[in-house]
């Protein structure tokens, strides 16, 4: 089940610094939303508020009607939220498969005693999730890398592994923080195809923070533009890119206008 997300008047202050001010928007289930804006606009901060890593100073965040402001990230994960990070955060000395399997944590039943005693159901669950993780990797053309230590792979593949790790948790809401950062042109095209495929195959809501406007245009149904911690506009990617306020936020006012 894809989740809906609703933000109302979200404020985030660090001391006197107002990182986010009165940000409100709604995301319908099954939508891919792009969160764009210049560096320092507060995109990642907003992301961290949604995923529970930051607690907004005020306002409300609801996921499928459930108020989650201030919930711990580990609780949000159990509500069906998964995310990737701007800089891939993998366990580099563990294998690719072990990294991906971590995404299955919330789907594995049983407490530490059951696992220490190797009760049969824990073994069955582990084998099932392992098969699923291998299938995900195979499907992504990464089957060959499953048993390699993660640090032997490239940055582009690290970003991919993060994505598969997040997907193994079967999320209802997936947050992608700059999935194209540092990727080559070819890798970005592949990423676009992958996200399209995920959306076609799964009932999932996706929010993407990204600078790469090509990716935003290709993937998103709607975008929210942030600037200086405020929502500048909401609409489609094409609307955003022709909106004079957005252009101004990115490249400043035309010097001719200033002179006039």
């Amino acid at each position: 089940m894809a989740a809906s997300l609703s933000l109302k008047d979200v404020n985030l202050h660090f001391g006197g610094v107002k990182v986010l001010q009165d940000v409100s928007f709604d995301v319908e289930p099954g939508v891919i939303l792009g969160l764009v804006g210049p560096n320092g606009a507060g995109k990642t901060s907003l992301f961290n508020c949604i995923s529970g890593h930051y607690k907004p100073s005020s306002g409300s965040i609801t996921i499928t009607g459930k108020e989650v402001r201030g919930s711990a990230p580990s609780r949000l994960a159990r509500l069906g939220l998964a995310r990737t990070f701007q800089h891939p955060a993998l366990q580099l000395n563990a294998t690719v498969l072990q990294n991906v399997l971590l995404g299955g944590h919330i789907r594995l039943p049983g407490g530490p005693v059951s696992w220490a005693l190797r009760l049969p159901y824990t073994g069955r669950a582990e084998r099932a999730i392992r098969a699923e993780a291998l299938e995900l990797l195979d499907h992504a053309g990464l089957g060959w890398a499953a048993e390699l230590p993660a640090d032997e792979l490239s940055h582009g593949l690290h970003k991919g592994i993060e994505l598969w790790r997040a997907l193994l948790s079967k999320p209802a809401l997936l947050l992608l923080d700059e999935p194209a950062a540092g990727l080559s042109h070819g890798e970005v095209q592949q990423l676009i195809a992958t996200v399209k495929r995920i959306r076609a195959e799964q009932d999932i809501t996706i929010i993407i923070v990204e600078h790469h406007m090509g990716l935003i245009s290709a993937l998103t149904d709607q975008v929210v533009v942030l600037d200086h911690g405020r929502k500048l506009m909401a609409g489609t990617a094409a609307e955003a890119q022709s909106d004079p306020r957005v252009i101004e936020a990115y490249i400043g006012k035309d010097s001719a206008d200033d002179a006039a």
């Binding site: 994960a77 891939p88 072990q98 971590l102 406007m213 890119q241």
Partner: protein, 357 residues
């Protein structure tokens, strides 16, 4: 696992090996001289303590300098229980449970603090523990210590005491290692690992860093208590000296030398803890500490991942000599961000192009 040699991957070979090891362990005390048995018993005692330390520090990355406190606690509980005529199973359960509960309470508070604060709290444990053990002489026998004999071989067994003790220690140690190994291989092993590496990632995977740290610390304390029980089975006497801070550091050194984040490494660590003082004493008793330090440095310099990585390192060296690696690491591209105006212009150009028919 990539660290397991091909022979062990074969299922029947693994079963055969397990059977051989089991038979060897059961037969060993009957064939070995008493001194060897006593040495093996002490290795088992400390291996369990190192195992606990490894769960909380090696696997979960939480500095714990107080493991010896839980060993001492387990030993005192055992002595108390034995001297009050409790059933030996009850004594064992109490030693583990009381150490576990104290560990849990300490962890509930300390894990909130995070980072070095946990280390400071754990340092306090043995430092508070020693004078406490001296004070509470009603339970502990004060500075004199307390002795409890429960591990002498019963008449029906026809065994010597060292053999009987060997079997007690073997039973508990084997159970502890098998349980710990199962625990760190699946769901919880991955949870421990991600909490060690990156708590933000752990949390977003649904692994609560706080609860995971408390869990790891509690398991370490339970294993500490079990080690204390075994200590009393082997030594039959405990005193405040048992839980002095210096021993905690030695346990830590043993864990690192054996291999942090390795179950087999804990066993090697236990052996290190027992053998190295014997070895250095044999070389020159007046330089014991100095030569122990030298051994520590040499091992860490040559095998930073501990003695357990020795086969892996040898294999890697062998491979390097026979074949060049076919694929090197691709150059790491830094996740560089485009400067803002450029990104915007690029984006705008992109749409223009796409908008054109």
């Amino acid at each position: 696992m990539s660290t397991v040699s091909p022979v062990l991957r074969n299922r029947s070979a693994r079963i055969a090996l397990t059977v051989v090891v089991a038979i060897a362990l059961i037969a060993a005390p009957l064939l070995l001289p008493a001194f060897a048995n006593q040495t093996l018993v002490r290795i088992g005692v400390y291996a369990v303590a190192v195992l606990g330390l490894n769960i909380v520090m090696g696997y979960t990355g939480q500095v714990n300098l107080g493991q010896i406190f839980f060993v001492g606690l387990g030993a005192y509980v055992t002595a108390y229980g034995v001297n009050h005529g409790w059933n030996i199973i009850v004594v064992f359960v109490a030693a583990c449970a009381i150490a576990g509960i104290v560990g849990l309470l300490v962890a509930l508070a300390a894990a909130r603090l995070g980072g070095l604060a946990i280390a400071m709290v754990t340092i306090a444990l043995p430092i508070v523990g020693v004078p406490l053990a001296k004070r509470l002489s009603e339970f502990t026998g004060g500075s004199q210590g307390i002795s409890a004999r429960f591990s002498d071989a019963p008449d029906w067994s026809g065994l010597y005491s060292d053999q009987w003790q060997f079997y007690i220690v073997l039973l508990v140690t084997a159970a502890a290692f098998l349980l710990a190994r199962s625990l760190v291989q699946g769901k919880y092993g991955r949870a421990f690992g991600v909490v060690r590496e990156n708590e933000a990632v752990a949390a977003s995977m649904g692994v609560s860093p706080y609860r995971t740290k408390v869990l790891a610390f509690t398991i370490a304390s339970i294993l500490g208590g079990a080690s204390g029980f075994l200590y009393l089975a082997a030594v039959q006497y405990t005193s405040p000296e048992t839980l002095s801070f210096g021993h905690s550091i030695s346990l830590l050194a043993a864990m690192v030398i054996g291999g942090a984040g390795s179950i087999a490494g804990s066993l090697i660590g236990g052996a290190y803890y027992v053998f190295v003082p014997q070895l250095t004493n044999a070389i020159d008793p007046s330089f014991t500490t100095l030569s122990q330090g030298a051994i520590l440095l040499v091992v860490l310099f040559l095998l930073p991942e501990g003695l357990v990585s020795l086969p892996r390192v040898i294999r890697r060296l062998g491979r390097r000599r026979t074949a060049r690696p076919t694929s090197g690491n691709p150059p790491q591209t830094a996740p560089a961000h485009h400067p803002v105006p450029e990104a915007a212009r690029e984006g705008l150009e992109n749409t223009e192009r796409q908008d054109r028919p």
